[in-house]
Structure formats: C-alpha cells, structure tokens
Symmetry: C2
Subunit: 404 residues, 2 copies
C-alpha cells in the first residue's frame, strides 16, 4: 500500500555514510590510549630488543668450547663476570671463558651462545657445561621484535593492551588518535517520566534515556542526554543548543510517517530531512537529516524499533566518525522454524542462537523490550527474500558483533 514510499535499508545506509565526517584527531598519553583509535600509522624509532640479548638465565660462552661435550662428559670453563638485567659487561669473553647472564641482558663481546643454567654446574669460578651448544643458541638478535623504521601498527586500529606495548617499544609515550565524538541524545514525548515505583494515567517510563546513553557509550562516543516535550519550539531550541557543542544528534519519538511529527518537522525547518521512512521492520518511521552540517538520527519512540534503527543506522555511523571500520559480522545459521517475511522490506527478527541453529523469538511488537533482553542476535531477512523455511540457512547478526 504505502511500502513503495519507504526507502530501502541499503540506500538509506549509503545516504547516511556519505553525510558523515570524521571528528578530528588529538595526541594523547599512551596511558590513556586503551580502546582508542589510531589516526595514523606508527613507525618505530627504535630497534627492539636494542641489543643482542640472552633469552635465558645462564652463561654466555663460545659455543665451540662445548662441541662434543655432554652430561656424562661436561666441558670445563671459567666464570669471569656476572651481568644482571639492566647491566652491561666490559669484559671480552675469550675461549673457555663464561659470563653469568640474566634473561634479557646484553650478550657480552666475544660470546656467541648462552647455555641455560639448568645444563650447568658451578663451583666458585669453575663452570661445567653438560651439553653441546649451537652458535646463536639462546641469543635473541637485535631488532628481532621490531626494527627501527618498521611500521608496527596501521591507522584505524583500535588499541588493545598488546598494541600499547608495541607503541611503547617503538619509543612513544604519546599517540595520535581520533577524537571521541560528542553525541547529543534527545528523548521526546509528553508521556515520558523517569523511573519510579508507581505511575499514573498515561505516563510511560522513559527507558530510551538509558538505552541510548549506553548505546553511545558502547560505540565509544561521549553522550549527553536531554528530554523535550512534544513542542516544536522546545525541540527546535534544544536541537540548536546541543548542535553547537556536539558532533551529531540522536532523537527518539516524533517521527511518525503518516503525519507531520514534531522532530521531523523541526529538522525540516532548521536543516534538511534526507530520509523519512525506511523499508525496515521493526523501525519503519526512521528519519535522518542534516542540521548545520551535522547528522541527526531520528529514531522511533518505541524502544525496540529505536534499538533496531540504531543498530542498523547509528552504531556504524558513530564508529565511522571516529575512524573505525567495523563491518557487522553476519554469520549463517539454520532456522529452527519457518519465518515469514514480506518482499520489499528488510526484517530484523530478534532471535536466540545455539551452536549452528537460530530460533526466532515468539514475543513480537516494537514496544517489547524483553524481546531485546532475551535474544542475542538478529535474523536478517533482506527485502528480496520472501521468508525462511524451517531448516534453511539464514543471515544472523549476533549482538556482540555490533560493538568493537
């Protein structure tokens, strides 16, 4: 009937993508860089290790002095020095000499191998070596891990603990990252009240306040949450004020398609509405616009519709604004029962996965938050598919893959 006016999901995603701008870069302390996003590649200033080092606790020696010797016929050497971690030896090791060395310490001049302590006996300066060593044994070459000039990490990388280790080893205590976007969340609706133990009349608890604050956090951006009643003037003033200091705005409510609704009207008035109504279920009354060159995502008031719209259109946008390329990881699973769908509409069906199977939830309705809590994945039925038969494979998007 009116489906034909709705924009296909993929087309809407393309329009949004082409409207996004990265939020700029900043140099921060490496201390604070966990889970931040590299804005440029990191090139090592150093070799790591910066010298030939011992990979074991033991003795630095000439391997040749042990050739042919064994546990029953040990080689006999003389200990001439000891090097702890952080120390260097000035001694040059001659044949049949040994320097006691700690793991990680620099190999002294002359030595070409390290015998592990476990294969030796020592008494005073006398050392017995109970094995035959190969030259270079237990020696880590200079630059084995990183060489000066190596590119150790690429732009766009979300920094894990080990990534910080390699940046430190490359010689840096600061790092260039994308700024975190500041995102305004505006819930709208006369009926909304904050949580309380009892409610009156037509009041509804404003759960979106919490959902979208947390969703912005989970997309590694910084949320500010506000609420407006359904007044054109109040919403417009709030949008204008918040967009001065924020990189994007997410609203909930006021997006009905069949009538002029307040949020869409405001966006039309002070900016441009690029999308209003998408061929998505749940989530049809989604809007997207640009106000003062900043993206405005207009979500439904109904909690589940709004979450699906955010998962389909907003999360990835917040990622892209901070330089993260995270394509949702769709997996294939077998449907545990028949799932009907209509041509011309993309369905996001709340479902529960178990091993290779996926089971669509029975509870439906775009207001049923419980369905989002009890599910762990979407079954996605693209608009050119009329439904999935029992036992057929289908596309599944686990919720865990939505976050980075």
């Amino acid at each position: 009937m009116f489906l034909s006016n709705l924009m296909p999901v993929k087309k809407a995603q393309k329009i949004i993508d082409s409207s996004l701008k990265k939020v700029g870069v900043e140099k921060i302390s490496l201390e604070d860089a966990h889970k931040r996003v590299l804005s440029e590649e990191v090139t090592s200033q150093l070799n790591s290790p910066p010298f030939e080092r011992s990979s074991m606790d033991g003795y630095a020696i000439h391997a040749e002095d042990t050739f042919g010797f064994s546990e029953t016929n040990p080689a006999t050497l003389k200990i001439i020095d000891t090097i702890g971690a952080g120390q260097v030896s000035n001694k040059i090791i001659k044949h049949c000499e040994a320097v006691r060395i700690a793991t990680g310490a620099p190999i002294p001049e002359g030595a070409n191998s390290v015998v592990m302590e476990e294969y030796t006996n020592s008494q005073g300066n006398n050392l017995e070596v109970e094995m035959s060593l190969t030259p270079r044994e237990n020696i880590s070459p200079m630059g084995e891990d990183i060489k000066e000039g190596d590119i150790v990490l690429r732009k766009g990388k979300i920094l894990k603990p080990q990534d910080l280790a390699i940046i430190a080893s490359a010689g840096y205590n600061k790092v260039n990252v994308y700024k975190k976007p500041n995102i305004a969340v505006v819930t709208t609706g006369n009926e909304l009240v904050m949580p309380r133990p009892s409610i009156n009349g037509a009041e509804i608890i404003n759960s979106n306040h919490y959902t979208f604050k947390a969703m912005v956090e989970s997309a590694m951006a910084i949320p500010t949450v506000a609420h407006c009643v359904d007044s054109h003037e109040i919403v417009e003033n709030e949008f204008e004020k918040l967009l001065e200091t924020h990189d994007a705005l997410i609203s909930t409510g006021g997006t009905a398609i069949s009538k002029g609704d307040v949020v869409v009207d405001v966006t039309e008035n002070i900016g441009e509405v690029l999308i209003h109504g998408v061929a998505l279920r749940p989530g049809k009354p989604f809007g997207f616009g640009i106000i003062h060159e900043k993206p405005v995502f207009m979500l439904s008031g109904y909690p589940v519709a709004a979450i699906v719209q955010a998962d389909v259109f907003v999360r990835n946008s917040l990622h892209k604004m901070q330089g993260i390329e995270n394509e949702p990881q769709i997996v294939r699973k077998i449907a545990s029962r028949k799932i009907p769908s209509s041509l011309g509409r993309t369905d996001y069906i709340r479902a529960k996965t178990e091993l290779n199977m996926v089971k669509p939830l029975k509870i439906k309705g775009s207001g049923i938050i419980r369905s989002m809590v009890e599910s762990n994945a979407y079954i996605i039925i693209e608009e050119n598919i009329e439904g999935i038969g029992e036992g057929e494979e289908c596309n599944v998007l686990p919720y865990d893959s939505l976050t980075v």
Copy 2:
C-alpha cells in the same frame, strides 16, 4: 628434565579460583550502569505497558462496526475525541463512534480495536474505515512486556543498553551491582625505562606498564600502576602499601624458577606462595600467592609470556572477583600446518584465524610483542596431546572472547 616440578595449568587455575573473593556490592545510578554487573536479580515493580495501549496511530473503535466493510465499501463512524501520547480520554466509546489515538496512548473505555490511519479517510467528524477489523487488533495488552513481580534480569548479568531499558521500565533509577576491583600493577626490573626516542646501554622500554594497565581496564577493573627496581626491600614496601588499598596485585618480572627471585621471595616473606612454575609455554615462570588474604599474580617480565599468563590466569580471576562468569569460548578450527608440542605442557600458540582455518604464527619467542599484535587467537594444545597434524582440528581461543 625439570618439567616434572611444574604445576599443570588446570590445577593452577583451580588453586587460584578457590582463593578468590568477590569484592562487594554497591548501589549506583542507572545512568552509570552500562557494562556493570548485576549483584542481584531485578523484579519489576510495575506493569509495562501500564495500561492497554494503541500500537498504531489511528482510531480506537468497536471492531464489530467494521465487520464486512472494505476499501470499496467503507464503514462510516463518528469521531468524538482525540488522544495524544501522554493523554487519557474520559469518553466512553459507543457503537459507531471513534477516538483518534496516537501510538502508545491508552485505549479509551468501550473500544476493542484500533484501525490504522492508513486504512481510513476523515473529514471533520466523519470517519470512513476501509477494512474489517478483528477485536484486539492493534491493541497491546497491559503488562505485555513486563508484569509486576516478573524477574526481568538475573544476578551476574553484564548490563547492555537494552538491559538498562528493562530496569527502568521495571521502575528503578538505581541498581545494585558488584564493585569494580581495584588492582595494583607493579612492574619490576632495573633495566626498565619509560618510552623514549633513544635508549642507552642495557635499558629496555617498560611496555608492561601499558599492557597491564590496559588489561586491567579491559577486564572492567580499576588499575593503579607502579614500578620497582629489583630490590627486596623496595618491592616489599610497595606491595605492603598497595595491598592496603587494592583488592589484588599483579606484578611483572622477578619470577625466575631456577633461583630465588625478588618478587617470589617477597611474597614468600610477607605472605604465601601457592604456585611457582607452571607447565605452560610460553609462561612457565608464573607465580601466585596470597598476601594479607589478597591474591598476588606474579607474571614474567617478558611481554608475551606475561600476556599469556594473564590471559590464562588473571583475566578470568578479575572477572570472578566482580561476579562475572565468562568461560573462554574455545572454538574448533583446522590447523593450516603441523604444530609440534611436548607432552606434559600446555602450549598457547599465537595464531591467525581465517574462516574455518587457523594458522600458527612463525614468529616465536616470549619477548616478541609483534607476535601478539599480528595474531588474533591462541591455538591451545593441552598437555596430554603431542602436537597437531596439518589439516587436523584443534582448540582455538579467539582474543576477542577473552573480554566481556
């Protein structure tokens, strides 16, 4: 040779598990509860929705008034009132009457269905309905989402955006969660310096400082990082001081097995060493002890050994201290080439997964941070397995599954 003295990994994990205590609970604002861990179940104080509500924009009517009518032969009704979201109507709807109603608004008395606006035409007070409705159509029953007294979430749940929504809808603006553990990280080693563009002599950059601060953060705990040179007295004083205000301590360096090493000595002196040396590669010189009833994890100085030890022994412990049950998700993949291993030792081999395959990295060595950066999973070879053949299935632990 000396492998027989090393403790099997599973036995060490059991000893650690039985030494851990949860860190207590706190009541926090729901605003701040994203990714926190529920310390008790949540029971709803409310019905949600709290009344029968319209699931569409349209008109509340008696379904019977439309029976047999259609687009070509519409029913004719009279509009007697309008209800917006947040409003209630005092009118009682009689036969052939209609009340204009917004999505989410309470159904007025008398009506038993809602016709979508799209299937109507209106002029003034006259309404044409172009379809035949079923009783209850487009009406969401009271308590459809949550009923008063329902348990909506269980203890131990890590709160996602939608979980906050259901807690709010259950009537709460505060929530009881486990406290985040305060974790002291102490790096040790005379040779360690902070990152700089050039280094001298036997200096090594202290990458563990960054790695383990971030690892504690990634386990949702709160880190404090300190550094000590290899002095029994200095390390002991630092341990004593930090354990007064922290729930656990993680150290790096000073855990060599073949000699009395400083960190293990200190723990022995002021507490009890329960584990020293495990049948794990890399990561053999791992220690665990209890000082003043608090767990002390003694990791190697070498970066990769320390990361593996933390992934095997520390992460899960930090999770358990805050009530999170996160068993690492081991998956089965096909080895792209032969992987040798020794009986009596658990190997954690850095590897890269691709679809159903897993490829062990060629770069080895417990100092090679690059191997942790370029891999995305461990191949785990248990101690009773002598190696994996090319094309054989093996156990793989993706790094992503280590975090919650």
